[in-house]
Symmetry: C2
């Protein structure tokens, strides 16, 4: 399979989205990586960027938005992005709905070869990922059979909602490598139904810092909680805003085979294959439920 050739031999189409909003430097970083990765043997592919107008952190796979809004064009400010192959749009909606609406109205009847979501401010680890907008957008693509890549970088919790200025060069390199890899795999992935593939969503969590020689590790999703929610004196009068999110996991609570250990303890890149089929063991269920 020659690099970046897709099923029909046509140039690849990549949809890039995120949860941090159209102005997020993490989105601009992954857009740059996607344009670079889409330059393949078949000539440069096409990259469409579609993101929420404002930050939509922790929206999970919510499908809500401003019913009256439509996509607005946006120019990504980075000068080293090849704008000729990049159109960017924003709309006032949750990440999964942005992804769904972009697939319907921006792709001109084509199905992208790959949806990339990220790069998120903050690692997405363990059983909390169901609340992640980055993962929500990726799973929305996966539900339609489109291979998806969800990219997140480790940051302090204080960066989840209030972004600082970070150096994105290391993560752009990681993103580009993984976009290339999944583009190459896309035809064989698409040949199998969702839930029966080696993965529907590939989750890649990048430690900070991430120098060139940082190893990659295939990991399981941690079944520990990674985030904790602390309230000083809980009562029925406690306001939602009084809850403080913190990173609850540590080397003792995490399994060394899992994503959390890889990123938080060993500081390597965690590559976690996820399936959209969350059916539990039918044999075990039959045994205890006797239906």
């Amino acid at each position: 399979m020659s690099e970046n050739a897709n099923r029909a031999g046509r140039r690849p189409l990549i949809l890039v989205t995120n949860d941090d909003g159209i102005e997020s430097p993490g989105l601009h970083a992954v857009a740059e990586a996607a344009v670079a990765a889409a330059k393949g043997a078949n000539g440069a592919g096409e990259v469409i960027v579609a993101a929420p107008t404002n930050q939509q952190t922790a929206r999970g796979r919510s499908m809500n938005g401003n019913e009256r809004d439509h996509f607005h064009p946006y120019e990504i400010p980075e000068t080293n992005t090849d704008n000729r192959r990049l159109t960017a749009w924003h709309i006032d909606a949750s990440p999964a709905l942005v992804c769904q609406h972009a697939l319907t109205v921006l792709c001109d009847g084509r199905t992208p070869d790959l949806v990339v979501s990220g790069i998120n401010y903050g690692e997405n680890i363990g059983t909390d990922i169901g609340g992640s907008g980055t993962l929500g957008a990726a799973f929305q693509a996966a539900a339609q059979g489109i291979p998806a890549l969800a990219l997140s970088r480790q940051t302090g919790v204080e960066n989840h909602f209030f972004h600082g200025h970070l150096d994105w060069s290391e993560t752009i390199r990681v993103a580009e490598r993984w976009i290339r890899k999944i583009l190459d795999l896309a035809p064989s992935l698409a040949a199998q139904p969702p839930g029966r593939r080696p993965f529907d969503v590939l989750k890649v969590d990048i430690p900070d810092p991430c120098p060139n020689e940082t190893p990659e590790r295939l990991t399981r999703l941690s079944m520990s909680r990674y985030l904790g929610f602390h309230i000083e004196k809980p009562s029925s009068r406690t306001r939602l805003g009084e809850s403080r999110t913190y990173i609850a996991a540590d080397a003792h609570s995490l399994d060394p085979a899992d994503d959390g250990y890889a990123v938080a303890v060993d500081r390597v890149i965690a590559v976690t294959p996820l399936t959209i089929d969350c059916t539990a063991s039918m044999i075990e269920a039959q045994r205890v439920l006797q239906v």
Copy 2:
């Protein structure tokens, strides 16, 4: 194991939540079922109801809400609910955040034996369930190791956002039966870590109508899309509100072993065991990714 006795032999504690909001007749129905089911060998258990102030359909596992709000008491109007064992609260937040906040501030340091989410207006089927607020609240409980039951009833799509007056007596019966069943299983479920249990969330979808003799069937989650999104003439100017949701699945597209076929074609009760561990096959991922 005597009925409804829990680990410590104390009276069971059930947290009831939903995505349709505190005024939903589906919530009142399941609250009634929970109070009836909690009347066990150890004396009547306790039921706490915590729901969004307003309808929060399709919020997935979004964790957002009005930071300044706290829980407000509410009186469930049904006269045949035993109010002495029922306290109900509402707050302006997404279903998963309502569940999270209720676990932290309403349970007085106790961990419920079971979280019940529903009864939703509209069946929750296939790869679309990631967008369901009913399931989002249930998975939020599951992420903390609490067994969860997600209940939904089949309705037309027009009822997903605009509720009509329905007869809930049939679904209350089904709900009560399943709450009892999981309360009995709760100690053995809790003895295993999340992701390694026979199920973390049990999803029960109830056909409409559902007469007494309606069979129950253990089903897999469908990997087909159950819902479709139709836009007449898609363009970048298409507003979000122009998309029409419809039930895309039919007997030909659905697998007879799956939840969708059970509810939509055979009109039986679909009982689907779900896991919070969505790690795909590590062997297959290793083979194609070579990490």
